[in-house]
């Protein structure tokens, strides 16, 4: 009998503990939930803060999880708005997409690396392990350290898609998570090559971090060229919804696309679009 009462006691405690977070006050402010791309999330939460200041009755809740989650949550209705840092695919045309800004991917090497330019074919051969030495592309006498992004990241997807590669084909020496990790790895290794978000790369290069952005197809990797749409390896940053937006969702999307947030977009080193 003794042990049974112990168990009942524990169960009651558990029930109380699990029930506590469920007590929501009924008059809480209306919440818009955004989930998806970790590239867009910091920008979206800045835009959200400014929107909340103008409309105190609305709360903007931003969660990351990658573009695929943005698509999935928008489709399932788990989120009011999904964040997707790539162009929508044909099978995703049941969603409504709104482009906020553009982002580009830059191929980066160490500043001291004498190689000034690589052709698309050379980049493909470096990433598939056919070229393993900088000498083969006119560089110093050193083996190439190939840096790749982790599986599932949209930067990786965009890179693979642009060069028509499969992730199985890539012979990487280092696999990184976020952009900063990639930049630090290249900055610490004169023989490394990697690719990261162009905004972060241009910012860090200006801050004196020893990295160099390589041109692609002889087009310099600059924010300016991404804005013009010239740079081949760039992507739109999209907000997506399941239904045509209305009410607060529409208000928020209009606000995010307006010139009122261009300063925020520039602060995150993305490229705002002229409407």
């Amino acid at each position: 009998m003794k042990s049974w009462s112990g168990i009942t006691f524990t169960l009651w405690l558990l029930i109380i503990v699990t029930a506590l977070p469920g007590c929501n006050s009924p008059d809480r402010p209306l919440t818009l939930t955004l989930t998806g791309s970790s590239t867009i999330a910091p920008l979206a939460s800045e835009i959200g803060k400014r929107f909340e200041r103008q409309h105190p009755e609305v709360r903007i809740d931003v969660q990351t999880g990658g573009s695929s989650r943005g698509i999935a949550d928008a489709q399932s209705g788990l989120a009011d708005i999904g964040m997707v840092s790539r162009a929508l695919r044909p099978e995703e045309n049941n969603l409504y997409g709104f482009t906020l800004a553009r982002d580009g991917i830059a191929i980066i090497t160490h500043k001291d690396n004498p190689v000034q330019q690589l052709t698309d074919q050379q980049i493909i051969e470096i990433y598939t392990g056919q070229i393993t030495h900088w000498k083969e592309v006119g560089g110093q006498d050193a083996p190439i350290t190939v840096i790749n992004k982790a599986e599932g990241r949209s930067t990786l997807e965009l890179f693979l898609q642009h060069f028509s590669l499969k992730s199985q084909d890539i012979a990487a020496d280092v696999i990184i998570g976020d952009n900063e990790q990639g930049i630090k790895t290249v900055a610490g290794n004169p023989d490394a090559i990697g690719y990261v978000s162009i905004g972060t790369a241009e910012f860090d290069a200006q801050q004196g971090i020893p990295i160099k952005l390589l041109p692609l197809g002889s087009i310099p990797a600059t924010i300016e060229n991404v804005r013009k749409g010239n740079f081949p390896l760039s992507r739109p940053l999209n907000l997506v919804t399941r239904m045509p937006p209305e009410g607060w969702v529409k208000e928020f999307i209009n606000f995010a696309q307006s010139s009122q947030v261009h300063d925020l977009i520039k602060e995150q080193y993305f490229v705002p679009l002229e409407k």
């Binding site: 009462s5 524990t10 990658g66 350290t145 599932g152 199985q168 998570g177 290794n189």
Partner: protein
Amino acid sequence: MSPWRNDRLLAWCLRGCASIAGLIILLIIGFLVLEAIPALQQVGVSKFFFDRGWHPSSLASEGHFNLAPMLAGTLGAAGGAILLAAPLGIGAALFCHYYAPPFLARLYRRLIELLAGIPSVIYGLWGLVVLVPLIRQLEPPGPSLLAGILILALMILPTIALLADAALAGIPREYTQGAAALGFSRFSLIWHVALPAAKSGLLTGILLGTMRALGETMAVLMVCGNVVQVPGNLFEPIRTLTANIALEMAYAMGDHRSALFVSGLLLMALVMALITIVEILKPKSSL
């Protein structure tokens, strides 16, 4: 209230606390199993060990799900770290107890405690910007099993040193006094009396250190290179099970996500196996 009743109340409360602690572990394991089941069913257990590689996809039929290289990476990094940190940590504790003058011992202990308090991401950052470039000069690319071992050894060193210190402090005075009375040299005292008497505590320290090394994520993620492969030598990059989860969880969907829970389950199994082994090795009655 009679003292007897008080006793019973306390016993009940403690019993409740203990069951909650136990239940939490069971809930975590249950949750892991529940999340891992879809992948275990779709992919099959054998593919997690004998597939062509780790190229997960949200559909099991399209992806490859071999976790064995990451298991090898985890064991290699943690094992190497323990081999380095255990003698150093126990040596540090012995130094504190039997050789250092008291003021130096106190200072040294504070220093070790400070080392234990540094967040792992700081170790990782230091590893990424200082240690990895150094290793690269020895042999490129730099991020490697060796970098992981060194960082992990540094991180678990204070755990082992502090627990060894506590274990040595717990040795009954009569033991050391008896040894001194018998005319033992300081070395024989340590070797024949102190270490055997503190064996259980030292093992606990090493076990806790191993656990921390197995579970460490951020620092390992930053210095190990994260390439999925069985390392051929110390200079090749590896990916650990924890780094695998941290790298990919945020972006994983469907069977890929579920497969990451399988790697969590595998890590859990590894830890449980380790605890079992140490339980068996441990002297049955410690003193």
